[in-house]
């Protein structure tokens, strides 16, 4: 297996003023992970554990204090201009609430097309067809491309969010709680879609979630985060069946599961 992404000793503190010169606890405290091509890394933790900050640092949306994000052998923080745009094309986000990433006044097809325009993919005439292909690819009726986000259901909006992420044919998708806002029946459909995409297109992903049941289902490897550190990392079966760290055990015991 070849390595796609390597995160080395990442540290990040958010500068908030606490009284008497106290330092806030770091959001990331010496975090290192590796993602292999075509594989899914599940990043699990509770609120405040730093899992979203790690995702944002990898996307280049948040600048770490120290450490390195190395994508396909290149240090991401050193990138600028064209090289940065190329990186963004290869690494795409999917967020929890696609409502937040879709312009409410734009038909959703235009939001997907914007990604093609922005990266200059295909000829302008070609892009129209690509948008419809992408809709088809994520299981949306292409007739919905002309609708506003408010006239789509939550599951349909998340499919649009995934179509927009796929438009630039990324090699890595950072999905931050992509199914947390969805109903159980819709969640199953979106998880199926994400698993299909991984299989068909060979896209690697980092799947960030608080839900161990979801992460267990889709991940090849799992990293458990707690207070800014990765406390346990390994193959999914090993982590779920033989947790080594006390916090992982606590987390597993707290999952409400139908008996």
């Amino acid at each position: 297996m070849t390595e796609l992404l390597r995160v080395e000793h990442l540290r990040k503190s958010y500068a908030t003023a606490l009284p008497w010169g106290r330092k806030p606890p770091p959001a990331l405290n010496d975090v290192s992970v590796v993602v292999e091509r075509g594989k899914t890394l599940g990043l699990v933790g509770e609120s405040g554990s730093g899992k979203s900050t790690l995702g944002r640092c990898i996307l280049g949306l948040t600048r770490p204090d120290s450490g390195a994000v190395i994508f396909d052998g290149v240090e991401v923080q050193a990138l600028s201009g064209r090289a940065l745009a190329a990186f963004r094309r290869r690494v795409q986000p999917v967020f929890q609430d696609p409502f937040g990433s879709l312009d409410p006044r734009w038909p959703v097809g235009r939001s997907v097309r914007e990604s093609l325009d922005c990266f200059g993919i295909g000829t302008p005439a070609d892009r129209e067809r690509r948008v419809l292909d992408l809709f088809d690819r994520v299981g949306l009726n292409p007739a919905l491309a002309g609708r506003l986000p408010t006239h789509l259901s939550g599951g349909q909006r998340q499919r649009v969010g995934i179509a927009a992420a796929l438009a630039s044919e990324p090699e890595l998708i950072i999905a931050d709680e992509p199914v947390s806002a969805l109903d159980m029946s819709v969640q199953a459909q979106i998880l199926n879609l994400l698993m299909d995409l991984q299989q068909d297109l060979g896209v690697a992903s980092i799947f960030i979630t608080h839900d161990l049941g979801v992460v267990e289902h889709v991940s090849d490897n799992i990293a458990v985060m707690y207070r800014g550190s990765i406390v346990e990392m390994g193959e999914t079966e090993a982590v779920m069946n033989h947790p080594q760290h006390d916090y992982t055990r606590t987390l597993l015991a707290a999952i409400p599961r139908p008996r």
Partner: protein
């Protein structure tokens, strides 16, 4: 055993400007919940579970049409005056919601907010109400309750805030506690603690609990019985263990199968058949809304 909460053929629909025949949000629900029982209602969004909870509390907006009968301790709630509802709420019946921050005044000491609930219903002097509020805070697991009486909500964590809301809800020893997604905003480890707290309090006080949630795991943890709602209807009720072991309704079976926590890793999850797909239901609603917007 008499029922603390008894519903007969309850229906709720909302009058709207354009629709002559409003679609019912709740349709023909009948249910008896007994003293000391935790009854869970599970359903996806739009199933009518929260509307049903609000109907029990008399909290529906003025355009709601409620039919059938809802009896709390043998008193009819449907058609009760606003004054009578207000004296009932916080006393005989209490409700807690998903977001405790929205239930608490951000500028007020939390202890005073609990004491207010007591004094709104009983002629207790301020000192006794304060003592009772501190005792309640201790009972729901706020450490050093007397010292924290005067703290405002933002000085507490999300889980602690939900504990304080529970303390206020239980201040007057209600017969019935309606909990609408009480742990949905909480981390899993905190969620487990709050559910254990609700379970302990109903054992200690014999409180009856109507627990509304979308989470099959949550109902399985504390409920004695479960009802499954879809499209405003109560499809099935069963003892919790029985429901998870032998779901009788096809929708319940599909919902259980869609849960990734039970399925082998990496396998496709069974998709709920179109007839029971919440998205197709909502699609129909959206089309109606779009048609209405064009007509306006």
């Amino acid at each position: 055993m008499s029922a603390v909460l008894s519903m007969r053929n309850v229906g709720v629909s909302f009058r709207t400007a354009d629709a002559a025949q409003p679609a019912p949000a709740v349709d023909g629900v009948s249910l008896d919940i007994h003293r000391g029982e935790i009854f869970g209602i599970v359903g996806e969004s739009g199933s009518g579970k929260s509307t049903l909870a609000n109907a029990v509390m008399g909290l529906l907006p003025p355009n709601a049409l409620v039919s059938g009968s809802i009896r709390v301790n043998d008193r009819e709630v449907v058609g009760l005056s606003d004054d009578a509802l207000r004296s009932m709420r916080g006393d005989e019946v209490s409700m807690i919601f998903q977001d405790p921050t929205a239930s608490l005044d951000p500028t007020w000491p939390v202890g005073d907010q609990i004491a207010e609930t007591i004094r709104a219903h009983y002629p207790v002097n301020a000192r006794d109400a304060k003592a009772r509020a501190i005792a309640l805070m201790g009972e729901v697991g706020i450490a050093d309750a007397a010292a924290r009486y005067g703290d405002v909500p933002h000085r507490f964590s999300g889980g602690q805030r939900q504990r304080i809301v529970i303390a206020a809800a239980l201040a007057n020893n209600p017969q019935l506690l309606v909990a609408d997604e009480p742990t949905t905003a909480l981390d899993v480890t905190i969620q487990a603690q709050v559910l254990q707290l609700i379970d302990r309090l109903r054992r200690d006080h014999g409180t009856t609990v109507l627990l509304i949630t979308h989470d099959l795991g949550v109902v399985s943890m504390v409920s004695d019985r479960v009802g499954v709602m879809y499209g405003g209807r109560l499809l099935e009720t069963a003892a919790t263990r029985e429901l998870f072991a032998n779901p009788s309704h096809p929708y319940t079976r599909a919902l259980l199968a869609a849960n990734p926590a039970g399925a082998p890793r990496g396998t496709r999850l069974p998709v709920i058949p179109a007839a029971w797909n919440i998205e197709s239901l909502r699609e129909a609603e959206l089309l109606r809304a779009a048609a209405g917007a064009v007509n306006d």
